[in-house]
C-alpha cells in the first residue's frame, strides 16, 4: 500500500516526466493552490508554462477541531498547470491516476460539469469535477479569465485532493487514519494543527488586530500599485511583492470571516477591496510581461 507521501512522490514524478517544473509550496498562506503566483500570475501573459506543486491550503471556516473525519482547516492540494493545454490533456491526466495504481478498467470514472469562479480573484473557468466510484477526486478547469484579464493561452488546471485520493487508495474512512509515512498517520502529523488552529480561527484571533493588519497590507499593496506608472525600470518593479500583499489580505479576510467578524454590509465591500488589489496586481504583471523594456517575455 502506498503511503500519502508515496502518492505525492509518484504524482510529482509523473508530471516531472511530462516536462513540468516541480515547485515547492508557496510560503504565504493561501486558500487554494490557484492563488499561488505559480498559477495566478503565470497563467497571464504570453509565455508557456508547466508546473506542479503540492500546496497546503488554508480555509479557516472549514476547520472542525480535528473532529470531523472528512473536513479540514488545512488540506493538501496537488496543483498542476499546463499552459497552453496539450491536446491530450485528459489522457495525460488519466495516466496520472494509473501511475498511482488505479486500474481505470475496473473503476467508474465520470466527468461531471463543474465550472469555477473566484470573485475575489476576478477569475473563472469551465471544467469538471472528476468522479471516481462516486468520489470527487479532482477539479479540472480550463481557465478563461484571471485577474479580470481574458487569457490568450488557455491553461488547464488540475487540482487533486490528496487526502481524499489517499483515503480512497488506502481504503480508510477518516482522513486522520491515512498512513502518511510508514508508522505515521495523518493524525500523528496534523491533528494538533487542526485542533489548535480551529481554536485560534474561531475563538482567540484578535479581531481588531486582524482588521488593522488587513488595512496595513492593503495600504502596502496600493502604494506599490500607485508607484508602477512612474517607476523607471519596469522589470525591477516588485509586482510579486504586491501580490504577496494580496494573499495576506485574502487570508485575513478568511480569518475575519471565520471569527464571524464581518457583518452583512461589510462583506461585499471587503471582497471588493481584495478583488481590486488582485485585479490591479494582475494588470501590472501583464504590463510587465508585455513591456519590451522589461524583457520578461523574451526570456521564454
Amino acid at each position: 500500500m502506498d503511503s500519502f507521501q508515496d502518492i505525492v512522490f509518484k504524482l510529482k514524478k509523473y508530471w516531472s516526466d511530462r516536462g513540468a517544473i516541480i515547485q515547492e509550496p508557496y510560503d504565504i498562506e493561501v486558500g487554494a493552490g490557484t492563488m499561488c503566483p505559480e498559477t495566478f500570475l503565470r497563467v497571464l501573459g504570453p509565455n508557456p508554462y508547466k508546473v506542479a506543486y503540492v500546496q497546503p491550503s488554508r480555509r479557516p471556516a472549514d476547520g472542525r477541531y480535528g473532529e470531523n473525519p472528512n473536513r479540514l482547516y488545512k488540506h493538501q492540494q496537488l496543483q498542476v498547470i499546463l499552459k497552453p493545454t496539450p491536446d491530450d490533456v485528459l489522457e495525460q491526466y488519466l495516466g496520472s491516476l494509473e501511475a498511482i495504481g488505479i486500474d481505470l478498467t475496473k473503476h467508474d470514472l465520470k466527468f461531471e460539469e463543474d465550472n469555477w469562479e473566484s470573485p475575489t480573484l476576478g477569475a473563472w473557468g469551465v471544467g469538471w469535477q472528476v468522479m471516481l466510484d462516486g468520489l470527487e477526486i479532482t477539479q479540472f478547469t480550463y481557465f478563461q479569465q484571471c485577474g479580470g484579464v481574458d487569457l490568450d493561452l488557455v491553461p488547464a488546471e488540475i487540482t487533486y485532493g490528496l487526502e481524499r485520493l489517499t483515503a480512497f487508495l488506502q481504503g480508510v474512512e477518516s482522513v486522520f487514519d491515512i498512513q502518511w509515512a510508514p508508522g505515521f498517520t495523518y493524525k500523528d502529523v496534523r491533528f494538533a494543527d487542526e485542533l489548535q488552529m480551529s481554536v485560534f480561527n474561531f475563538e482567540t484571533a484578535n479581531v481588531n488586530r486582524l482588521w488593522r493588519l488587513l488595512a496595513e497590507h492593503e495600504a502596502e499593496c496600493k502604494e506599490l500599485h500607485a508607484a508602477y506608472a512612474k517607476y523607471p525600470e519596469k522589470k525591477r518593479f516588485p509586482v510579486l511583492a504586491a501580490y504577496e500583499q494580496v494573499l495576506k489580505c485574502s487570508n485575513l479576510f478568511n480569518l475575519l470571516d471565520a471569527r464571524g467578524a464581518i457583518s452583512v454590509t461589510e462583506r461585499v465591500g471587503v471582497i471588493k477591496r481584495v478583488r481590486d488589489l488582485a485585479v490591479g496586481t494582475a494588470k501590472i504583471w501583464m504590463d510587465q510581461q508585455y513591456s519590451a523594456e522589461s524583457g520578461v517575455a523574451e526570456v521564454a
Partner: protein, 650 residues
C-alpha cells in the same frame, strides 16, 4: 448515385443537460434532401444521413440584358460583362430584349459539405461556451473538439475545425475502447458498440431503466435522463448502507443519494426507504465489487456528515437562531434575513394569519444558519420543518415551515396547511415587493431573483387555496401589472381558459383570484350557448358607438323619451334582467344577460341611435351605456373574440 453521410464531432465530456439542446440543432443540418439522424453521447455528437446525391443538379438562369433597340454595341457589352460568346446572347420571346441563359454546373456535395460543415459545427449554440486554442480569437465550443469523423460514402469530407483535421478515425470508451478506430458508415455504430460505446441515447436510457428497475430503484425520470447523457456504456449496481442511517430523515437521505451522488433510492414499501441504493456506472460490470465498495464508502461519509450536521444543529434551537439571521444577507439593499423575517411576520399578521402562521414566519428562515442547510441548500425549509418538529414547535408550525418554499414550479403543489399557505404567500410577496421597490424588475430573460416564479407561486396559492385577498391590496403599480400577467399565464396555461375570456374577465375588474376564477368558469359555461357570442358582438358595437360619440352619461335615462316598440322593449328587458341578476350566481346572471340578445338585435335593426333630436339621441346613448356598464361587471363582453372575427382574422 446516392451516398450515405456520417459526421461525428468528438469532444471532451459535454455537460449532460446541454446535449438534448445540441441534438435539436444538429437535426437542422442541410443534407440535400436526406433527413438527418442525430445521436449523442457525452463525448460525441453524431449526424447521419442516407441517400445524399453525389452532386447537386445543374441549374440555368435567364439573365435579362439591354433592349434590342440599343444596337449591337449593347449586345456586345452585355456578352462581355457576363463572359460569354456573342452568340449566347439571344432575343427574348418578345424580341425586345437581349437575354442569355447562364448555366451553373452542379457541385460535388462533398465539396459543399467541406465548406459548410466547419461553420455549422462552430455555429452550434451553447449555454456557456469556452475557448481553448488561440485564446479569444480561436474557436468557441462547449468543450475542446478532439477529433472529427466526416464521411460521404467511402470518402472523407476534408475540412478542419479548431486545428483538428476531419478523417475516418473515431475513438472508443475512454478506458475500455481503442483510442483510434478506422470506421466506415456501415460499421460505425457496431464498431463503437464493440468499443464500449452505446451510440443511441434511447438504447442507453432503456438499458438504465431496465437495470435500475430490476435492482428495485425508485422511479426517477430526471435522474435517468442525467445518467443517459453522462455515460457511454451505462450499467447499474446496487449497494448497501448501514440501517442505522435510516434514523435520519428520508428527505436528507434522498437528497444525498439523488442530488449529490446521482444514486437512485430503494424502497422496501411505498414511502419507506430501504438501506440500499442503485448507482449507474460508465463501465459494463463490477466483477470485483470495487465500484460498489467505493460508492458505499462515499455514501457512508456523506451520511456521517449529515448525521454530524443534524447533531450539531440541535445544540441551538431555531428560536435561538432568529438573531443570527442578522448575519445572513437577503439582498444588499433589502438587508438581512432578520429584517425580511420581521416584515414577513408583520405581513402574516396583516393577512390574518393565526399564531401558528406567525410563529412559523418567525422561524422559517432560521435553518439558513444551520450546518445541514449550508451543506444541502436544496433542503432549505424542509430542514427547518424537521427541526421545528424535533424541537417541539407543534405540527402546524413545523408543517408551515417545511412547505413555505412551495410551490417550487407550476407543477408543484401548494402548501397543504392554511398556516403554510399564508407564510408561503407572505414570504414570496415580501420578496416581490422588496425587489420591485428597488427596481429589480424582471425583463426578458433576465430574472436573477426568480421573481416570475415567486409571482406565479403567489397566484397559484391564491387560486388553489381559494384565498380571497384583494389583489390591489396585495400589490400596486408595476407589481400589480406583473401579477396580472401571471394571472393570465396561470389561467391560460394551467387552467386552459381561452385568452379572450381571461381578457374579458380581467377587463371588468381585477378583484380577487378566486373571484376571477369564478367569473371565468361562468363565462366558459355560458359561452357555448347560442346567444352569447352574438351578444358579445353587439356589446362591442355598443362600445364603439359610445366611443365614437365620445359619450359619457350625465343625466339619467328619461323613460318618456323612449320610442314605443324595440327601444321600450329593450329598456323593459334591461330593467327586468337587472332585477333578476341581483344576488344570482355568475353563471345564472350571464345566462340572463345573454337572453337579452333578441331585444338588442331588434333595437339595432329598427332603431337609429343617431336620432336627429339631440335629446333622444342622448337618451339612447344613455340606455346603451347603462346596458354596457350594468352587464360588464362579470366580464367585459366586448373583449370576447367571436367566431366570426376569428374567421376573419384567419
Amino acid at each position: 448515385m446516392s451516398l450515405d453521410f456520417l459526421l461525428e464531432i468528438g469532444t471532451e465530456e459535454i455537460p449532460h443537460w446541454m446535449i438534448p439542446g445540441a441534438k435539436e440543432q444538429l437535426a437542422k443540418l442541410d443534407l440535400f434532401g436526406a433527413s438527418p439522424l442525430v445521436d449523442a453521447t457525452p463525448r460525441r455528437l453524431v449526424v447521419r444521413g442516407s441517400n445524399l446525391p453525389e452532386r447537386t443538379p445543374d441549374t440555368q438562369q435567364i439573365i435579362k440584358g439591354p433592349p434590342v433597340a440599343g444596337g449591337d454595341k449593347a449586345r456586345e457589352g452585355f456578352a462581355k460583362k457576363n463572359g460569354v460568346a456573342l452568340d449566347h446572347v439571344v432575343k427574348d420571346e418578345t424580341g425586345k430584349y437581349w437575354v442569355l441563359a447562364k448555366h451553373t454546373p452542379g457541385r460535388m456535395v462533398s465539396d459543399i459539405l467541406a465548406e459548410t460543415l466547419p461553420g455549422f459545427i462552430l455555429g452550434i449554440q451553447w449555454p456557456k461556451a469556452m475557448y481553448w486554442a488561440g485564446g479569444k480569437t480561436g474557436p468557441r465550443f462547449i468543450r475542446p473538439i478532439r477529433w472529427l469523423v466526416a464521411l460521404l460514402g467511402g470518402q472523407v469530407i476534408p475540412f478542419e475545425v479548431a486545428r483538428v483535421q476531419s478523417g475516418n478515425l473515431t475513438r472508443g470508451h475512454r478506458k475500455l475502447g481503442k483510442a483510434s478506430i478506422p470506421v466506415t458508415i456501415e460499421n460505425y455504430e457496431g464498431d463503437l458498440k464493440q468499443n464500449f460505446v452505446i451510440l443511441s441515447s434511447d438504447d442507453r436510457r432503456e438499458k438504465i431503466v431496465k437495470e435500475v428497475e430490476a435492482l428495485g430503484a425508485k422511479h426517477d425520470d430526471d435522474l435517468v435522463e442525467t445518467l443517459t447523457y453522462i455515460t457511454e456504456f451505462p450499467a447499474a449496481i446496487r449497494g448497501d448502507f448501514d440501517p442505522s442511517y435510516l434514523k435520519l430523515p428520508a428527505e436528507v437521505l434522498i437528497t444525498v443519494m439523488r442530488h449529490h451522488q446521482k444514486y437512485f433510492a430503494v424502497e422496501s414499501a411505498p414511502g419507506v426507504l430501504a438501506n440500499h441504493f442503485v448507482a449507474v456506472m460508465n463501465i459494463p460490470s463490477d466483477p470485483d465489487g470495487l465500484v460498489k465498495k467505493g460508492n458505499e464508502r462515499v455514501l457512508r461519509a456523506r451520511f456521517n456528515d449529515a448525521r454530524f450536521f443534524w447533531d450539531v444543529d440541535q445544540h441551538k434551537t431555531l428560536a435561538d437562531r432568529v438573531e443570527d439571521l442578522k448575519a445572513v444577507t437577503f439582498q444588499a439593499k433589502l438587508g438581512s434575513y432578520y429584517e425580511k423575517t420581521q416584515r414577513v411576520v408583520q405581513l402574516v399578521k396583516d393577512l390574518g394569519g393565526d399564531e401558528h402562521a406567525q410563529r412559523a414566519a418567525l422561524l422559517a428562515k432560521c435553518d439558513l444558519t444551520c450546518e445541514m442547510v449550508k451543506e444541502f441548500t436544496d433542503l432549505q425549509g424542509v430542514v427547518g420543518g424537521l427541526y421545528a418538529k424535533a424541537q417541539g414547535e407543534g405540527e402546524a408550525v413545523a408543517a408551515a415551515i417545511y412547505e413555505h418554499y412551495k410551490p417550487l414550479s407550476m407543477e408543484d403543489s401548494i402548501p397543504s396547511t392554511p398556516s403554510g399557505q399564508i407564510v408561503a404567500l407572505a414570504d414570496k410577496l415580501d420578496t416581490l415587493r422588496g425587489c420591485f421597490a428597488i427596481g429589480l424588475i424582471p425583463s426578458g430573460s433576465k430574472d436573477p431573483f426568480a421573481l416570475r416564479r415567486a409571482a406565479q407561486g403567489v397566484i397559484k396559492i391564491l387560486a388553489e387555496a381559494g384565498l380571497g385577498y384583494k389583489l390591489d391590496q396585495l400589490a400596486s403599480g408595476e407589481l400589480l401589472e406583473f401579477l396580472k400577467d401571471r394571472i393570465q399565464y396561470y389561467f391560460r396555461e394551467i387552467q386552459h381558459f381561452k385568452y379572450d375570456e381571461i381578457n374579458a374577465v380581467l377587463a371588468s375588474g381585477v378583484t380577487t383570484v378566486p373571484d376571477i376564477e369564478a367569473r371565468l368558469t361562468a363565462v366558459q359555461a355560458v359561452r357555448p350557448t347560442e346567444d352569447f357570442e352574438p351578444l358579445a358582438a353587439s356589446f362591442k358595437r355598443i362600445r364603439n358607438i359610445l366611443k365614437q360619440a365620445n359619450f359619457t352619461a350625465s343625466d339619467g335615462l328619461d323613460p318618456k323619451l323612449l320610442e314605443a316598440g324595440p327601444e321600450q322593449e329593450l329598456h323593459q328587458a334591461f330593467e327586468s334582467v337587472r332585477a333578476q341578476i341581483k344576488g344570482a350566481s355568475y353563471e345564472d346572471a350571464l345566462s340572463r344577460v345573454a337572453s337579452l340578445r333578441p331585444q338588442v338585435d331588434l333595437f339595432f335593426d329598427k332603431v337609429l341611435v343617431n336620432a336627429k333630436d339631440p335629446s333622444v339621441r342622448a337618451n339612447r346613448l344613455t340606455l346603451l351605456s347603462g346596458l354596457l356598464t350594468e352587464f360588464s361587471t362579470i366580464a367585459d363582453f366586448s373583449e370576447i373574440v367571436t367566431t366570426k372575427e376569428d374567421a376573419h382574422n384567419a
